[in-house]
Amino acid sequence: MKEAKKKSPARIYLTFAAVLILCALAGGIFGYTTASNELSIHNLSQRINQLLASLGPWWFAPSFLLLAAATWCYLRGRRLLPQAMEDDDIFPQANLTLGWAVFLSNLAMVFTLIAMALSYTSSWGIGCSIVLLVIQLVWIKAIQARTISATKQLLPEKRGNIFDFKFQHDWYQSCDEAERQQIGQCSYQTFKVMTLIFPIVMAVLAVLSTIDLIAPTYSLLVGGLWLVQQFVYNYTSLQMDKARK
């Protein structure tokens, strides 16, 4: 494991000040450019919206590609199962391949819902979008259920049914110390990335709302999501501290 390099406090403060100045400058330039090009930005926004809507059901294409890749990973993982049960050297490969199937199907779920939100206004009509949405949701659930079932064959101690609303809880309960540490690291990484993204998005929304390009509801929505994230993380941490007392 790598040890963190020690930085001098002066360097830390200088870096912080430099980043602060750079962000202020970028915000100033962005705000000024937005305000002075209000009309063209409105036009650009309209064109982007038209372009997004014109793609229609094609928005579902990325999810289909991701689902095809997830299915391929699942089939590959399943093919490795008999060998992985016997051979300890094949086991990590089979486990990783099945992990990829879950990862790709999770991405497909996000893309599917994005596609639904963006495609309904197209000339193809909402009916076509709903049919594609249902096909993809069924495919996602089927591939996830099959992958979890294959993973359970590989790791018989795993518990939980993907169609049960308590699946994540049951799965976590059947994880041992190494797996729980991995889940903790992944959650921390997610928190770190989202803590960086939320303020940037909020700043951009604040600038865009000054020219009425973005309705205040969007800022409220993003702010609300940020609030939920901060609350859940900090409240959970406090509860854990309290339990240790």
Binding site: D88, A178, E179
Partner: protein
């Protein structure tokens, strides 16, 4: 100092596979695989349980290696 182990060697000597060792020490096959590959440092409890299965002192199964200075 990185932690290394002789898990694979002792496991083979006992004729156990990863799943069997995992069951004996109350952990998953995945964790045994990670420990053997040096990708996970077990907790003291787990290290002691593993050493117990092999009937060896824990420092014989897990040991620290001095890092070479550049």
């Amino acid at each position: 100092m990185p932690l290394q182990n002789r898990l694979k060697e002792f496991r083979a000597a006992q004729g156990l596979n990863q799943q069997e060792l995992g069951t004996l020490v109350g952990t998953s096959r995945q964790t045994i695989s990670l420990i053997e590959r040096g990708d996970y440092n077990p907790s003291v409890t787990l290290a002691l349980r593993i050493a117990q299965v092999f009937h060896r002192p824990v420092e014989e199964v897990f040991y620290l290696v001095e890092e070479e200075l550049p």
